[in-house]
Amino acid sequence: MSQIEKKGEAAPSTLFTVSSSPHIKHEDDTRTIMLDVIIALLPALIYAVYNFGFRVLTLVFLAVGASILFEGAYQMLMKQSVVVSDISAAVTGMLIAFNMPVTAPLWLPVIGAFFAIVIVKQLFGGIGKNFLNPALAARVFMLSWAKEMTTFVEPGIKPSATAISVITSDSVSAATPLATLKIGHIPNLSIKEMLVGDHAGSIGEISALLLALGGCYLLVRKIITWHIPVSYIGTVALLTFVFSKNPLPYDYMSYQILSGGLFLGAIFMATDYSTSPLTGKGKLIFGVGCGLLTVLIRYFGAYNEGVAFSILIMNLLVFYIDKITKPRIFGSSTGIHGSAKRGKTNSPKKV
């Protein structure tokens, strides 16, 4: 032992960074994910501009700008690090605009953005912590301005891009397909028109085809999984087919799933990370729940629209769904560690 020198070598001149493993990172970060969502929303946006004119861009620009501004201002005010560069606020802003009719007054998206970003998102801790989908909560809040939120125009009618308000006292809303479906009639539109989006409705919800295209992009980029969109739309399809209000159940089902905000909701809103379950099983339960509530509201509710409310209701259950769908830990019989019954090998997969 006496031969052992105590450590105490001269400190080397260059020291390297010492950090915890892993030492490499996947290239995706929050910003690239949000950017992918924005890219996926673009086809529907371009089609909306084609259909409803440049007022669409004005509304989107206001909603996105206000969202980013409110987020940055709140974080500065609260002396937090300003993280608007994750561009999650821009996605929220886009979805707020997508959820309003093109006739909405220009102050409405700003109010929506304030409610979504400050009240729903930041007051509950910011990204990843909010328990309601900010854009949907804002949509429901904005329904307080009922006329402004429900005055739809026929496609091809392009309201002024700059007028603060385009609604007059004698404005009449064009009937959306959902209003017709509610009373059990098939809308006077072809399936092709429904798919492409040649009908009245909110800015971003009309083209099921282009929304699905965006959804495919998100699936390919692995931003979302198939569970929620498939189980959600599937449940609506099944229920409207089985409990059709029309003698032609197949047609009735087709128009139901292509109407309203179902595609926008199922692909872009119900899949919001913060407010949807984490596991595949949980996502399936969540999607089925959303589908069930959507049909109930569409059939029996006061509103024609069911998507926003049903997703918000399911948002509230996410924590519990996570809890009951905890994955079974490798080598253990349950999701709770250490509960593997030692010595027993009755389960074929477990040792």
């Binding site: 031969q3 052992i4 020198e5 105590k6 450590k7 070598e9 080397p12 260059t14 020291l15 390297f16 960074t17 010492v18 950090s19 915890s20 493993s21 892993p22 030492h23 490499i24 990172k25 996947h26 995706d28 970060d29 929050t30 910003r31 690239t32 994910i33 690090s81 993280v83 560069s85 994750d86 999650s88 910011g126 990204i127 990843g128 990370y273 913060s274 949807s276 984490l278 596991t279 905890k326 994955p327 079974r328 830990i329 490798f330 080598g331 253990s332 999701g335 709770i336 560690h337 250490g338 593997a340 030692r342 074929p348 997969k349 477990k350 040792v351």
Partner: protein, 448 residues
């Protein structure tokens, strides 16, 4: 179809050194050889030693004998930290450049078929062989623990860590030693068939081994899907049989025993040449290394000498990693020496850092859960750890974590998930050791 398991992820291989043949590094002027835990030096300062000579006696527990990797003179016996940060005794030997081999290194005189199991295990023990995939568990002890329990022998050539190519090259260039080493291990353990596990990004190695094993019922080559962390023992067994081994249990409890391919070669060398474990193949790579290579390195070589042998740095490195990029340990200087468990030495520049500068935050994308090979919810464990709630971290399976790094690698919010889970594990184990009641467990010292 290639075998696989649920979870895990594909990571870009960046196996830059895969085509460079193993180069034998000449003995450096000085080697600093670590002794195993609890060992005592077998030499004194000033002693002349030869290559392969015993320089450290095994003590109790998990210790094993240590041998000189060069011939020369012992200049110091000192204490210094291992790559993992533990204090250890090291023997410093000044090489005379002759590499004269010790007369103790002699081929076995007895035929294997005439040896008893104890004799065979003793040969493995005296050669100082440990798990060379990075585990470092003494092979003789592993064999003894598996005796009579294990019915299937798996030789692990998966090498799922990016950048690392040493196992790949060993399988290509030293196939015969692997086949023979496998047969020796089969004989020692009394197992009738050995299985060599190879990922499908190394089909050339699989073919090389297949050719040698052709027609033999004794050795089977199993092809696995290239996925991280397929090389983990439990994931290999799961992919092969569907069995899940609880983290508290060992593979031999389920009838398996797994050895790394290079361990297998070391076993062969011990039997065929009587050569103890004094050198190993290491991948030197990373964006700062001028010539990424696979090098046969004498144990005790300093990283500085090893990197010089690979042409030095092409640009200023920020991090030096012992092992692979997913599970390796960063070193603060180049004085660290190569040990029996060093699989790779990587040098990364600043450019390898994440470009995303926002503070870490979980956005609940669920990717960590999808990739976790142990089917945990890493985000929840990390969240409980940050709160100091180790009871819930334990309930969510923190102790089942194998620290493979998949979750932290994939996390878009840049949350240091593995670091947090490690904190939780340490606290939970401390707590269990202390055997106190479940209060006072929180202290909130976790990495944010």
């Amino acid at each position: 179809m290639a075998l696989s398991f649920i979870g895990g992820l594909h990571i870009r291989g960046r196996k830059d050194a895969r085509r460079s043949e193993i180069e034998k590094m000449p003995s450096p002027s000085v080697v600093t050889i670590p002794l195993s835990l609890n060992s005592e030096p077998a030499v004194s300062v000033g002693d002349a030693v030869l290559r392969g000579q015993l320089i450290g006696f095994a003590g109790g527990g998990r210790s094993y004998p240590t041998h000189s990797s060069v011939s020369g003179t012992v200049t110091a016996i000192k204490e210094k930290t291992t790559p993992n940060g533990e204090a250890e005794k090291y023997i410093v030997i000044q090489s005379d450049g002759l590499d004269a081999i010790s007369p103790d290194v002699q081929p076995q005189t007895k035929r294997i078929s005439e040896m008893t199991t104890d004799e065979m295990i003793d040969i493995i023990f005296r050669a100082g062989i440990v798990g060379m995939g990075g585990g470092g568990y003494p092979t003789a002890q592993k064999v003894r623990a598996a005796l009579g329990k294990a019915t299937r022998l798996i030789i692990n050539g998966i090498e799922c860590e990016p950048y690392l190519t040493s196992n790949h090259r060993v399988m290509l260039e030293n196939s015969a030693a692997i086949i023979n080493g496998t047969k020796i291990l089969m004989k020692v353990l009394g197992i009738r068939q050995g299985e060599i596990a190879i990922a499908d990004n190394k089909l050339d190695a699989a073919n090389a081994l297949e050719r040698l094993a052709a027609g033999s019922e004794l050795i089977k080559i199993r092809i696995f899907k290239t996925k991280y962390p397929q090389g983990a023992e439990r994931q290999i067994i799961n992919a092969l049989t569907g069995k899940e081994i609880h983290v508290d249990k060992y593979p031999h409890d389920a009838g398996f025993v797994v050895f790394n391919v290079e361990t297998c070669v070391a076993v062969y060398n011990a039997f065929a040449h009587g050569m103890p474990l004094i050198e190993r193949v290491i991948t030197v790579s990373g964006d700062c290394i001028k010539e990424p290579k696979n090098v046969m390195v004498p144990i005790g070589t300093s990283y500085a000498a090893l990197i010089d042998f690979c042409g030095g740095f092409s640009k200023k490195p920020k991090r030096i990693i012992c092992g692979g990029p997913m599970m390796g340990v960063t070193q603060w200087d180049l004085q660290t020496s190569v040990t029996k468990t060093t699989t790779g030495v990587l040098a990364f520049s600043e450019e390898m850092e994440s470009r995303y500068n926002n503070p870490p935050v979980c956005i609940r994308c669920g990717r960590c859960i999808r990739v976790c090979p142990m089917h945990l919810m890493p985000n929840y464990i990390a969240m409980f750890t940050v709160r100091g709630d180790y009871i819930n971290a334990d309930k969510h399976g923190a102790l089942s974590c194998i620290e493979c790094g998949s979750c932290a690698y994939i996390c878009p919010g840049q949350v240091p998930l593995v670091a947090n889970i490690r904190t939780a594990k340490t606290r939970i184990l401390q707590k269990r050791k202390a055997g106190r009641k479940s209060d006072g467990m929180s202290d909130g010292n976790a990495v944010q």
